[in-house]
C-alpha cells in the first residue's frame, strides 16, 4: 500500500531556497491542492519578484513571471482571457504589500476570480533582508539597523485586515507555517481559496506567516519559534472574510 506519494504538482528540481525557509513547504501545499482538486493542467500561475520568483521552476503548471508588484494585474489579464482556468499568484509581503498594493487591492475590488498566496516573512528576502511594510516594530533589518520605529517607518501593514474590508474579496484568511498543525491549516485554507475560485466566488487571498531564518539571523527552529512569538500577536491568525458566512 502506498502511504505517501510525491505530488505531481511539483517538478523534480531542487529549490534554491535557503535551509529552513518555508517557501518550499508552501509550494508543496499549493501543488498538492491543485493536484487534489484535479486542476493542475488547467492552472496558470503568476510568479512575482522576490525569493519566489523561481516558483515557475518548481510548481508544475503553466506560468507567467511578472514585474515586481504586478502579479494581480497580470493575473487579471490572464483570467479575463481564460475565465475557465484556475489562476493564482504567489507573492511575498514586499511584492504585495508595498510595490504591488494598488494592483492587489484593485484586483480584489473588481472581484477578480483569482487566488493570491502571500508569504509574509516580514522582510525582503531575495535582496538581502531589508525592511518590508510588514516588518515588526523594533525588528532589525539591513535598512532599519536600530530596529523599525513608528516615527520613521510607520507600523507593519496588516494585509488580511485591509482586504477583509474590500467588498470584492470572497475569502481572506491568515495562517502560519510555524508547526505541522498550522501547516495543515494552511493547506486547508489554500484548498478553500481554490475551491472558491472554481465556484466563481471571486477574489481569494491567503496570507501565510512565514520565516526567513537567514535574513533574520536565526536557526530554522528559532525562526519558527520567533514567528510564533513575535509575528502572530501582530498578525493574528484566522478567517478575515468569508463570503459564504457573511
Amino acid at each position: 500500500m502506498i502511504r505517501y506519494e510525491r505530488t505531481k504538482g511539483l517538478t523534480d528540481l531542487h529549490t534554491h531556497y535557503c535551509p529552513g525557509c518555508t517557501h518550499g513547504i508552501l509550494h508543496k501545499l499549493v501543488a498538492e491542492v491543485l493536484e487534489e482538486l484535479g486542476v493542475l493542467g488547467k492552472t496558470v500561475g503568476v510568479a512575482s519578484v522576490g525569493c519566489s520568483v523561481f516558483s515557475y521552476d518548481y510548481i508544475n503548471t503553466d506560468f507567467q513571471q511578472v514585474a515586481h508588484g504586478r502579479a494581480c494585474a497580470v493575473a487579471t489579464g490572464i483570467k479575463r482571457v481564460l475565465p475557465d482556468r484556475i489562476v493564482f499568484t504567489y507573492q511575498g509581503d514586499g511584492d504585495l504589500a508595498s510595490i504591488g498594493i494598488a494592483e492587489t487591492i484593485h484586483a480584489a475590488n473588481r472581484g477578480e476570480n483569482i487566488t493570491v498566496i502571500m508569504a509574509n516573512n516580514a522582510t525582503y528576502g531575495m535582496t538581502g533582508g531589508q525592511m518590508a511594510p510588514t516588518t515588526l516594530i523594533g525588528q532589525k533589518t539591513t535598512t532599519s539597523q536600530e530596529g523599525r520605529n513608528i516615527k520613521q517607518h510607520g507600523r507593519p501593514m496588516k494585509i488580511s485586515e485591509i482586504f477583509s474590508q474590500i467588498e470584492g474579496a470572497a475569502y481572506v484568511e491568515r495562517t502560519s507555517m510555524h508547526n505541522i498543525a498550522h501547516i495543515n491549516k494552511t493547506k486547508k485554507a489554500i484548498k478553500k481559496a481554490f475551491t472558491y475560485q472554481m465556484e466563481n466566488k471571486g477574489f481569494t487571498l491567503i496570507e501565510v506567516v512565514s520565516t526567513c531564518p537567514v535574513n533574520w539571523g536565526m536557526k530554522p527552529r528559532e525562526a519558527l519559534d520567533w514567528s510564533k512569538e513575535h509575528m502572530l500577536p501582530i498578525f493574528p491568525l484566522g478567517v478575515y472574510k468569508d463570503v459564504m458566512k457573511s
Binding site: 513571471q65 511578472v66 504586478r70 494585474a73 489579464g77 483570467k79 482571457v81 494592483e103
Partner: protein, 371 residues
Amino acid sequence: MLSFAQIQLLRWRCLSVSKILMKGNEAIARAAVAAGCDAFFGYPITPQNEIPEYLSKLMKEHGRIFVQAESEVAAINMVYGAAGSGARVMTSSSSCGIALKQEGISYIAGSELPCVIVSVMRAGPGLGGIQPSQADYFQATRGGGNGDYYVVVLAPESIQETVDLMKQAFEIADLYRNPVMVLADGLIGQMMEAVDLDKPVKKRHIEPKTYAAIGTDYHEGRNIINSLGLDPVYLEQHNLALERKYKEIIKHEVQYEMYNMDHAEYIIVAYGTVARISRSAIDELKEQNIHVGMIRPITLWPYPKKAFDLIPKSVKGLLVVEMSLGQMLDDVQIANKGRFKIAFYGRAGGMVPEPEEIVDAILHFDEKVVD
C-alpha cells in the same frame, strides 16, 4: 445646427459609400475591433480618452474584453497577462501614461509577446500640456524600459492611415511576437476625416500561439512566459535571438513615402501631422517655383534609412520639421551619412507649425542648418 440624431443619420448614409466621418480616436477604437482585438486594458488620459470610451461599448457589443485598469502600470501588465494567454490585446495612452507603461513594455518585449500600444502624444516634459506634440519620438523609438529591445513604431498622418496602420500593427505584433506602437498625436486623435474601415491590409502568415500559458492540458509540456535570465550565458543568447528578430523586422517592415521628389532642390523630412502640414508648404513653395520633396517615415523604428540613399546629389539640403526641438533629427543625421546639409525647424509645447513657417524655413535654409 444638426441634432445628434441627424448626425447619426448622416453617418449612417455615409455607410452606403463605405466611408464614415469619424474622429481619429474613434477610428483607432473601431480599427482595433475590426483587426480582431480580443482585449483592451487602459486608463484615462487626455487626448486619447475617446479610445477607451468607444471601446468600453464596442468590446462589450462584440463579446470581447474591456477593463479600465487602476493605472497605466496595471493596464500594461494586464496586457502582458492577456498576451501571454494568447489573446490579441492592446492598450492606449499618451506621453506621461506611456512613461508609466515602459517597464511593462520591456517585459513584453523580453518575453516575446505581441501587443499593440497606441500613444496619442501630448506636450511635455512632466505633466506638460494636452496639445499635439511629437516630443515622444525618443520615448517611442528608444523607449524608457530597461534592456536591449525595440518596439515597432508606426506613425500615421491621416485618419485613414491610422486605421490601416492599426490593422497592420496587430499583424506585425503577432508575426514577430513583439510590441508594436501606433504613434499619433493630439491632432490625429482629435480631428475628423472620412475613413473606409473595411480597406484590407496585408495579412501575414501567423503561426498558432503555441507559446501561450493556458494550462498544460491544452498543449505539450509546460509553457512559461518569462524574461528572467540570471545566467549571463543564457541571457546573452536570448539577447542575440532578439537581435536576429529585430534584424528581420528591419529587413522586412520598413515603410516610408517619398513625395514630390522630381527636381527637388530641398527635401523635407517629417512624419505624422507635420508631414501633413508640410504638403501644404510644398504646394506653396511650388507656386514660388521652388521644388521641395519630402521623405515621410511611416515606420519610425525601424527607421527608413534606405530612403536617404535614394536622394539625388543635386539636392541642396534636408529640412527636418518636427513638433519637438529635434528628436527624429538624430535619426536623419545617422541616415544622411554626412551627405547633405541638414537644417531643423521645430515647434514645441503643443504649438503646431503653420505651412508658412515651413515655407519660411526653406527660404532661410542656411540659417537653420544644424551642426
